[in-house]
Amino acid sequence: MEEQVFTISVYTENNPGLLNRIATIFLKRHINIESLNVSRSEIENVHRFTIVARMTETNVKKLVGQIEKQIEVIKAYYHTDDEIIFHETALYKMASNLLFEQREIQNVIKNSSANIVTVHPDFFVIEKTGRRKDTEALHDQLAPYGIMQFVRSGRISISKTEMKISEKLKNF
């Protein structure tokens, strides 16, 4: 079976030890976590891990089983890219003088639908939200001008189908 990218969504109780437990499940099987995001979820006091990793579907099933086995994990799901709406956000810190001395950089920003989030006398910060290839393309376009700092968030995703967490919690 072929390896592919899966987005694993894990709904959990708020327990600081869980990140460690979940990471260990990947580590033990030698699976690299490509991105990881932790946030609140639509339900009060329920946290949501969004983990991106590459593996076969057979293995992702087993992995999700192991994650769900953790006492404070409420439910875990896995999805392929076409089953979800997903984004990453990237920030690019650039020197402010570029805005005036290299006018074409303004077109790069405009054409990529990126936003300038702040401008300081010395630097300005561009924010771009989208797919990996979009933030990557902007990175490549800005690189020749000199990127002072670059950072990209983990993937966040929303599934097209329902995940029915509230129902599960109600049944308890």
Binding site: G17, R21, T24, K62, I71, E72
Partner: protein
């Protein structure tokens, strides 16, 4: 979850340390194993005050404490409790925690921790035991406030014993032990994110029954799930009605009596010849409370490929993990098997049973030479068989890890469930002596015999001190071949007899036992064996018996690592 305090209940102000002891008592734990130290002293101070209600057994090492708690839990079905201090005390528990996790043994481990204001400062005896134990605990938690103690202990017991059991660890900072709280104990009845027992589906049960009824060559493999789920009677009824031959995994041993006509022996690396061969000939493989460990299956690519697989399993993560199930029946196997029984056709499968008899050459080539040896050197099998004769198979049999363990599970007889205590999944040498002490305390009225190799014995033989102090009447049989026998066997078979670091120069074990005031005897010649075993079993007190064994004997049959189960060899 917030619980309102019922009106008729009053609270009282006590220390966190006292709350630990009171909470243990609320959970019915009146026996704990442990070892004191700085960060857990307030709890020990309370144990002193409550010593008439809670018996604390001082072991000689924290590893001894946790293995004793495991032995206790395995024979009694109750939760084993052990205590240790922070730092080295906690890390010394880790082997036992991992052992309990892989063998699904319910344990509550309580560790002391440095005061919360010192956490993260690399304080004296500070270790991050929560991180260290996370991968090998079913659940763990650090408590830094006295008022959190009762709820943490209640949750710990609930999680340890419910569903597929396992070890939990509570790490309690010293300030939480010393702090005061309004004490009120509420047992835990549920955790919203945790479903201990998945609901058994009627459809799955029917589908399972249909497959089983259609089988011409059904073959049952049962594991510890039958014991943990208290499903022995339901299981026996199922095999008797279906007429299916049933083989056990190492941990399933004793769930069905040895002499039951449908009990065909053990599967796996050193399992019996017929069951291994016929795994690859059965048409329906019925796995009950077992997890297809690699020591059971050998190569998965060639494992039971011809068979439809029915898997009765409490842990959804085990389904399809190693072997794909055609029908998975989730749930506790007592419930599942009871639901299944009415749908099962009565059968006897005589022709299929005769297939097992075709593999009788194991009897001639392997079993007879073990039990009725013609060579001069004593065999492990004949020693175990001699113990069978004296105990009539009614003893709790504890084994360590290695050749003697495989001989023990192959040759020991069992009439009662919860009688086989061994480190199956983790293979922890040094397990048996402390586990036997715990087993004796878990079943004081029963004979407890521990078979231990000369290697493993020396890993935890300091626990003779625990026997000296408690008077635990365990019978210790050291099967001494002056080798780390299992590794030596592999060196012989797969490494051209290069016996790297497997020869043992041993101390005088008799003197060692006598130093701890334990009666001891040594057998070197066959003619002395029967009398020595008789004397050992007759003893009301602990007893140490050393038997010198043929040095280079091997355990057979054997499925070499990674080979197919049907490639099982007899020599």
């Amino acid at each position: 979850m917030e619980h309102a305090i019922p009106e008729n209940k009053t609270t009282e102000t006590i220390s966190g340390a006292e709350a630990v002891v009171r909470s243990l008592l609320e959970e019915g734990a009146n026996l704990a194993y442990g070892y004191p130290g700085g960060a857990i002293m307030p709890i020990y101070d309370e144990l002193y005050k409550y010593q008439d209600q809670l018996n604390h057994v001082l072991t000689r090492h924290e590893q001894g404490a946790i293995h004793a708690a495991q032995g206790f839990a395995r024979v009694s079905g109750k939760v084993g409790v052990c205590l240790a201090t922070s730092g080295p005390g906690a890390t010394n528990l880790v082997t036992g925690i991992a052992d309990a996790q892989i063998d699904s043994t319910p344990l509550v481990c309580i560790t002391g921790q440095v005061a919360s204001h010192l956490l993260g400062t690399d304080a004296f005896q500070e270790t991050d035991v929560i991180s260290i134990s996370a991968p090998v605990t079913k659940w763990n938690v650090q408590v830094t406030k006295a008022e959190e103690i009762p709820a943490a202990i209640a949750k710990a017991f609930y999680i340890a014993k419910s569903g597929r059991p396992g070890p939990v660890l509570i790490d309690i900072t010293k300030d939480a032990q010393l702090g005061q709280l309004e004490y009120n104990y509420e047992k835990c009845t549920g955790v919203r994110s945790y479903e201990p027992i998945p609901k058994t589906s009627e459809e799955a049960v029917k589908a399972a029954a249909e497959l089983i009824n259609s089988a011409k060559k059904p073959f049952v493999i049962f594991g510890q799930g039958v014991i943990l789920g208290q499903a022995e009677a339901a299981f026996k009824a199922f095999v008797e009605k279906s007429g299916a031959p049933a083989a056990w995994t190492v941990l399933g041993l004793s769930a069905l009596p040895t002499d039951h006509p449908l009990n065909v022996g053990m599967v796996g690396m050193h399992g019996h010849y017929g069951p291994n061969k016929l795994t690859n000939e059965c048409d329906v493989l019925i796995a009950v409370g077992m997890r297809f460990d690699d020591r059971v299956t050998g190569s998965l690519h060639t494992y039971a490929k011809q068979a439809k697989v029915v898997h009765f399993e409490i842990d959804p993560a085990e389904v399809d993990k190693n072997v794909k199930a055609n029908v998975a029946v989730l749930g506790d196997c007592k419930t599942s098997l009871e639901m299944l029984l009415p749908y099962i056709d009565t059968n006897n499968h005589d022709a299929w049973h005769n297939e097992f008899k075709k593999y009788h050459e194991e009897e001639l080539k392997v079993i007879e030479p073990q039990l009725k040896p013609t060579k001069e050197g004593l065999t492990m099998g004949e020693v175990i068989n001699q113990v069978n004769k004296e105990t009539n198979g009614n003893a709790v049999v504890v084994s360590d890890v290695g050749q003697h363990q495989m001989f023990t599970v192959r040759y020991a007889n069992f009439t009662m469930t919860r009688s086989n205590v061994t480190s199956g999944g983790l293979g922890t040498m040094g397990f048996a002596l402390p586990a036997a002490i715990g087993a004796k305390m878990g079943a004081p009225e029963r004979e407890v015999v521990a078979f231990i190799g000369d290697g493993g014995y020396q890993m935890t033989c300091q626990e003779l001190g625990t026997i000296l102090q408690t008077g635990a009447a365990v019978k210790i049989v050291v099967l001494n071949n002056e080798f780390l026998g299992m590794v030596r066997q592999w060196q012989q078979l797969f490494f051209d007899k290069r016996y790297a670091s497997t020869t043992m120069i041993n101390p005088d074990f008799i003197k060692l036992a006598e130093a701890y005031d334990i009666k001891a005897a040594k057998v070197v010649k066959r003619e002395d064996l029967a009398a020595a075993v008789k004397e050992m079993i007759a003893s009301k007190e602990s007893y140490f018996l050393e038997v010198m064994i043929e040095k280079e004997d091997n355990v057979f049959p054997m499925v070499p690592t990674g080979a197919c189960v049907s490639e099982v060899r007899l020599s």
